[in-house]
């Protein structure tokens, strides 16, 4: 009987917790709208961009797969205290990132995080990439392929690399490793039009896993 009771309590608790997360996501959606986040970010997939002009017209990155892309802890902290991710202002090849992203109050940051984490993409397969130092991936990133020409990354001597792509210096804290792989494997799903080359047919699936692992090991 005792076991039965604790089973019931357990079940009820789980149900309560799930219900709570749903409630937070709903509150987060309301806060997302109230804070005018939707003026610069769309949250409904699939990808809408078909031309270069469509990309240039955007005021911020799409967030319809945010729950697959970001680590929840990083996202919650960033929403309350955003720091520049891209080195340059959005869609600019000259101006530095002004670092003026809207900030959310602590409570809203938690609920908006729950809302964004509820937005996922089916193409991201959980457990496909383990963050780990990976010599093959490192060779691809810095030598065999032009990745480092467009992305900053952490090195023993400090941060180095190009500026046109988002900085990957914090990628290990910021990004879900499984998403990095999905991003490389499914360019048409996540970024049908982008200034980074498609590597499908250039890098094998194995090498995409290697380089994803390497990126997922980046810490500032």
């Amino acid at each position: 009987m005792k076991t039965f009771m604790s089973l019931i309590t357990g079940l009820a608790l789980t149900g309560f917790m799930a219900g709570n997360a749903l409630a937070d996501a709903a509150a987060g959606k309301a806060a997302f709208e109230a804070n005018k986040c939707a003026e610069c970010h769309y949250t409904q997939g699939p990808a809408q961009e078909k031309t270069i002009d469509d990309v240039w017209a955007k005021k911020g990155p799409e967030l319809w797969y945010a729950g697959s892309k970001f680590n929840a802890d990083w996202l919650g902290a960033w929403l309350a205290d955003p720091k520049p991710i891209r080195l340059l202002a959005f869609n600019s090849l000259s101006d530095p990132n002004p670092g003026d992203h809207p900030k959310l109050a602590a409570g809203d940051a938690v609920s908006v995080k729950d809302f964004l984490m509820s937005l996922t993409a089916a193409e991201v397969e959980a457990g496909s990439v383990k963050a780990k130092k990976n010599p093959k991936g490192k060779l691809i990133f810095t030598k065999k392929m032009p990745c480092s020409g467009c992305h900053q990354y952490p090195d023993k001597s400090g941060n180095r690399g190009g500026k046109s792509g988002p900085s990957l210096v914090e990628a290990g804290l910021r990004l879900n490793p499984d998403w990095i792989l999905a991003y490389l494997q499914h360019p048409a799903v996540f970024k049908p039009v982008k200034d980074m080359p498609n590597f499908v047919g250039i890098l094998s699936d194995k090498d995409m896993i290697n380089v994803s692992r390497h990126i997922a090991s980046f810490k500032p």
């Binding site: 270069i52 090849l93 030598k143 190009g162 500026k163 046109s164 200034d195 080359p197």
Partner: protein, 125 residues
Amino acid sequence: MNRTMKSIIFATTLVIAVMAGAVPSVAEDVEKVFKFYCAQCHGESGDGKGINVTEDFPVTPRAFNNAAEMNKLTDADLRNVIHEGGPIASKSEMMPPWGKTLSDEDIDNLVIKLRALCQCKGKQG
């Protein structure tokens, strides 16, 4: 096989290729293509001084206004290196492969644009 049948097969293959997201089949305005994909390294004016060329960058991207250098290459060389990336021409891997990103028509238009920038015809061959 009759004509209609052939064109149906052709259209279906095209749709599948587009859906697979392989290579976009619609060419865009070459000025936009150059600014969007190439200027980040080669500079908006093609002078080789794009925003990515910091002191960490191992080589200098080709300055397209350097007629002497650009004249050493045929149009086919240009097409090939844009499609496959630097290593195909024994050049740096920092020159990315664009063949899975740009359509053949986009690449042909870029070759014409580069010839306008260098004001040169290139090696004939």
